[in-house]
Symmetry: C2
Subunit: 668 residues, 2 copies
């Protein structure tokens, strides 16, 4: 219980500084903000005192494992708001807080300057300052102490102009701010946490694929070995992560057939998410795919190509899972003795049995679920895409992710929760590194701007890292069903440039597969229920575009972040224009996308020259990294025209004009 405590005389009543409204601070400090190494942390707070005295604020931070604090001065922004910034140097938990105090020296320095300007008598004023400097010299050490003592003596002479020069000197100001009187300083009452993850948590491109469809030989089931063979091609396309749906044995009972039909034929392979059969459960591999050893080999081979393997964690069972016999208490038994299958009334999922997280045996259940992760960590998997985390308790995730990250801080969890926003955000607070989003259904200019603004312009961006997927095995969105090849190009470019983390479900994506079940956003003949074979080299495939965009992403640090996206005006509602830039403006990317997959669209984009540090009086060069075209732009408005059948977007790198008329840095 956090009640307001009555203020008692036992406090230090001379602490005059108030610190409040600290940002970021997630749920009163209950949850950490997230960063990766080399990210900056920008902290703001209201810091003020009574009266007119000068206030100083410092941002303090440390590694959780170390006691020693670092300090950076905070800058006054106006209206009692202060800001401090520091950079994360190491993949470890950090702590930050704020300290502020009334600075008697600065107060005196400012007052004497004003009094001097007003021609007032300063004799006694100088004596006050000399005593402040003397006190500081006692707090100082070595040469600084000696120098302060000297400066104090300078002021004792009768030459007012010379005294004032010493009082206002840079040297004295710096020395005094190095040894301030902090006896009555106020510390913010909370120490706030920063969860630091490795860089892949912040910048990643995912490729999802069903191993059983990976066989180049259309007559047989694909295997993990086929996946190994595919790795070089995937690496060439520029993906960082190959994510595989569950690899485990699949239940026989109530197995689903083609297109989710109730009765599976003899040959139906079943849904990979119906996990567990006699041969094993979450720690086994379906023999048709290979062995646990094959998984390890895949991980190794992928690593050689700088690709990591992500596996699926779906905490649910088929009715044949060994857990059901071995741990009946982990499931809901109905009054007729049967085990409760999954449902969302009136829908039934008879091939799936959920765990009962309200079981008396929740302790052993939690531990077993943790064991599953640790098993795969033992096989060198470090990335887990978690299926439907929103149907398991939040406290469980708080615990599980905390437990795993304690020993394996390089583990990355992706939350596959397509549900209500507050539930998705709460899961991110639990520690998920990345999260699926509504991007999949945000198509129009208004929708995209509103959604990206909501994700990046509020506290949400401090803990929720979006991962944009234009498609998944569960979702073939309407836009892709009707948008033809240009539609796939548009959605791909948006996903890969709006968000630093994105993924596609292939090969259906790069092959522009748009066959859906009637009136549904689901694939016809979905791989979820049958083995497919894909001709990756079919004409019209998007492999070249994808490869190029992934290369552009790698080359441009501005695209390694999501929170830096800013939208600007275009006088055409079918064209979306946004800018991503690094903090230091050394890398500026302008992205212009025609959202209409059927028609050429044109318009005038409004380039925010001032915000980008560009001289409005001078032309500048933009280089389209998609087409290799170059344009010389001039002024705030520039004309664009995009034919979706050729290329629905520009991804333009800005080249700042240098000294002479022809000296674009691009040519250097």
């Amino acid at each position: 219980m956090t009640n307001r405590k009555a203020v008692k005389m036992s406090i230090e009543g001379r602490k005059r500084v108030i610190i409040e409204n600290v940002k970021p601070e997630i749920d009163g400090g209950q949850f950490p903000i997230k960063r990766i190494v080399n990210d900056t942390v920008k902290v703001q707070a209201d810091v003020f005192s009574d009266g007119h005295d000068e206030v100083v604020a410092r941002l303090r931070y440390r590694k959780m494992s170390e006691k020693r604090w670092n300090e950076v001065p905070m800058k006054f922004l106006g209206n009692d708001r202060w800001e401090g910034i520091f950079t994360i140097k190491e993949m470890t938990t950090y702590v930050y807080t704020i300290e502020g105090w009334v600075d008697r020296f600065l107060t005196w320095q400012k007052a004497i300057q004003k009094k001097h300007e007003a021609g007032q008598d300063l004799k006694v004023e100088f004596l006050v300052g000399v005593s402040l400097i003397k006190e500081a010299s006692k707090r100082a050490t070595g040469q600084d102490a000696q120098r302060l003592a000297e400066l104090g003596k300078f002021i004792k002479n009768e030459n007012i102009v010379q005294n004032i020069a010493v009082v206002l000197s840079h040297e004295l100001t710096v020395l005094m701010s190095t040894y301030p009187e902090r006896r009555f300083s106020t510390r913010y009452g909370k120490e706030l946490l920063i969860a630091v993850e490795r860089s892949l948590a912040g910048f990643s491109s995912w490729y999802e694929m069903f191993p059983r469809s990976a066989s180049p030989d259309t007559s047989r089931f694909g295997t993990l070995k086929d996946c190994i063979d595919f790795i070089p091609e995937l690496a060439k396309m520029g993906f960082d992560i190959l994510y595989l749906p569950p690899l485990h044995p699949i239940g026989q009972k109530n197995r689903k057939g083609k297109n989710n039909s109730q009765t599976a034929g003899q040959s139906a392979p079943g849904s990979p998410w119906a996990i567990g059969a006699e041969e094993g459960g979450h720690m086994a591999v379906l023999s048709d795919l290979g062995t646990v050893k094959d998984v390890e080999k895949l991980v190794r081979e992928a690593k050689r190509h700088n690709v990591e393997i992500a596996i699926d964690i779906a905490y649910q069972c088929s009715p044949d899972h060994p857990y059901i016999k071995d741990h009946p208490d982990w499931f809901i038994k109905r009054p007729d003795g049967t085990i409760q299958y999954a449902e969302n009334p009136p829908k039934k999922y008879e091939d799936i049995v959920p765990f009962n997280f309200e079981t008396e045996e929740w302790n052993s259940l939690w531990n077993e679920l943790k064991k599953i992760i640790l098993f795969w960590i033992g096989k060198r998997i470090r990335i887990f895409r978690v299926d439907n985390p929103h149907t398991k308790p939040f406290l469980f995730w708080d615990w599980l992710i905390g437990e795993i990250k304690k020993d394996y801080p390089d583990t990355i969890f992706l939350s596959e929760a397509f549900t209500r926003p507050k539930v998705m955000y709460r899961l991110a607070k639990s520690g998920f590194s990345q999260s699926y989003t509504y991007f999949t259904w945000r198509n129009t200019k208004k929708e995209l701007i509103e959604y990206c603004t909501a994700l990046t312009q509020s506290d949400v961006c401090e803990y929720f890292r979006p991962n944009f997927w234009p498609n998944t095995p569960d979702i073939l969105p309407e836009f892709l069903q009707y948008g033809e090849r240009a539609g796939f190009m548009i959605r791909f470019i948006l996903a890969a440039t709006l968000s630093s983390n994105y993924g596609i479900y292939g090969p259906p994506f790069e092959l522009c597969v748009d066959a859906a079940l009637s009136d549904r956003e689901e694939y016809r003949n979905s791989e979820k229920y049958e083995v497919r074979h894909w001709d990756r080299h079919k004409e019209g495939n998007l492999v070249d575009l994808i490869s190029r965009v992934n290369q552009i992403r790698r080359d441009n640090p501005a695209l390694h972040m999501t929170g830096n996206v800013k939208f600007y005006d275009v006088d055409n509602d079918s064209i979306l224009f946004y800018v991503k830039a690094t903090d230091d403006l050394s890398n500026i990317v302008l992205i212009v996308v025609n959202l209409d997959p059927y028609h050429t669209q044109s318009g005038w984009v409004h380039v925010p020259l001032k915000a980008l540090g560009l001289d409005p009086a001078q032309p500048y060069l933009v280089y389209d990294m998609l087409s290799n075209d170059k344009y010389i732009w001039h002024g705030e408005r520039s004309y664009v025209e995009l034919n979706p059948f050729a290329m629905p977007a520009h991804i333009l790198r800005v080249h700042r004009r240098l000294k002479r008329e022809v000296d674009f840095d691009y040519y250097l």
Copy 2:
């Protein structure tokens, strides 16, 4: 330190409900929200669980002095947001929090309904429900237990339609919600406080007057006895509070003369805020005014007329204050042995010596300052207007107000801090009941709407009660200097109808005194530095208008609140239109003010019929309580025309149309 604790197995892992984003909650629960008796408290929170189960949320509250909680159900607003409301019944501190749980019965009831509609087999489902009802009957007592047991048995028959009728019956639903299973319920981690004050803290009209100018005899100094004589007139004008500037002995040393001049003549009475002379300090009364006994008499006489006396608390001293000799440690001694007077460089206030709140003796200083309040409380003063609280430490106010209110909860403190917004808000959090505001300088339509919106449409309204003053002895705003009589009328009506708490400094206000120092917003020949005599009955005085508006305020509960103000469109930037209504819409007041003191202005106001529960198809009557005029309005747009020289405003009470054409409730 509030760090995120690692979730351990020692918790109850089956608590599935999350409660977050509770509003109101001031600074994470560090400060109470404020209410008066009969106010409602509306609390919102995000309450949700994993999965698809039904969630129940309850708002819990209690008097701090009692252990027993009351509960009200919270209503689901959508997007995981819930709201609950309760009413404050007593002037005591309240506590509130939230509890939520997954309701297995509601989940089951909803599921069986859907399954029934889908024609699924329900046999086993009914058995599940029967067992839930049986468990509830064990938790229930008396007749309820018996009835639940009976209802459980009804469901056991084979008639599905009848079973469903019982399952969905109101009776079963109510009984089950009376005895829910709360074993795994989640309590919000904080118990939040409500500081409840008496009604005058929320609804009050203040009149400030210098007693020394209260003499009807122009040849002599006004006294407290003159104030007593003035009380009936003040009561007739409808004021609740008579606020008197400091009544204490005034220092001689560095006394200020007319118009704040450095050298006071023999006859200069000095500023009442230069407190303390040989004859006494903050617990004494200037002999020219009378005695402490006279103060007590004034309080008594005022009470007979339902007027309360507020005195000024100015924690500062004249150089002659006895404290300076008796407690030199409470002041700043300069190196030359002199005591530091007040300054805001380069400005000097030589007649004032501030306390040094950084003194080693701050304990004894705080206790003495508390003693001053207690002294006047002993004389039955319960309202204190505090001078410049922003130049004393916030922790001091936290402590002082807490200490006083502990024993005298009916004490009201008004914060006279004209300073930066965050400082003003922090003082309100310290416990000040009301606060001066920037209203004094907000004149245009845009300024007024923006400012009132900032005060009423954010968390600020939960702890900061504005008090609107069109003038003070320190401030004669430009608008009043140039606006003539109409200007005073406009500013008065705005203050008294925008804010439930307002005040004027009279008689200069009702006499429309507009003589200012050149280029300053200060009165010429200010009463702060000389004795004045006023002819209250001078032609053109605003006594009638003031009396009428105060009567309108008393008669209309909608004007007893500030947070209910809402602004609506008028097609003229010189006309401001706002509405105040009670929650139940039983009292609706439309206020239209011409902000231009020089010209008649007209326009069409947009009345929000729907929000006010008015039928757009029917005419309704509005009664102008200022002029006694009546208008029949019809539809959303109505024409207004306001001549500032006659009356610059309408204050219209809406009379809802009753059944027959001519039956306005006004006539009933």
